[in-house]
Assembly symmetry: C2
Homo-oligomer: 121 residues x 2
Amino acid sequence: MHALIIIAHGSRRSASNDEIRELVMQLKTMAHGFAHIEAAFLELTEPSINSACEALIAKGCTKISCLPYFLAAGNHIIRDIPGIIAELREKHPDTDITQLAYIGAHPEMPNLLLKQIQAAN
Amino acid sequence: MHALIIIAHGSRRSASNDEIRELVMQLKTMAHGFAHIEAAFLELTEPSINSACEALIAKGCTKISCLPYFLAAGNHIIRDIPGIIAELREKHPDTDITQLAYIGAHPEMPNLLLKQIQAAN
């Protein structure tokens, strides 16, 4: 049973976190092949990556793909999220937990940025 | 003379900031109608939004559009960036400085996220 977690940074502003939750709700209607799709947050709000993973493992998920909803490969992508995933893997050696490429790395991002610029002009 | 500033958060990891600068370099080859396109950072690295704007005004730009390269409307989008822009406007009443919609607000973002998921599976 394969699950997907969209990891966002998390904000002190609850409307910002709700925006991520709504995006994940929308994604649930679009992405196929996952038994569960959940939002998780690196900091400032819940669920944490840890608690989201634990809940999915408790539901019987044997494979969890974590996609960071981040724009650039800062320390969160290079150090913090890999560290959390490494600990989860150690605790759950029978669960296949992986970190996917962050959204900002998608080759179409420059084009989306161009579209957002054009929409404003 | 119309300029565009792409505002990123900024990182302690220089490679992450370079990633933004490279994106802006790429954008320069794609976006037309701007005399200048520059990267600026909210924190942790240079140039700041303030110094990027001041440099563009010194070059003669009369209109500066600032696009936040952020995924969700947290306090940076709602409070911090508008605060910086409000101060710049007050200091430069003859320059038309505006904050455009952040990249995460683009309606095609869920679809790009789906593509990033599919690329990994």
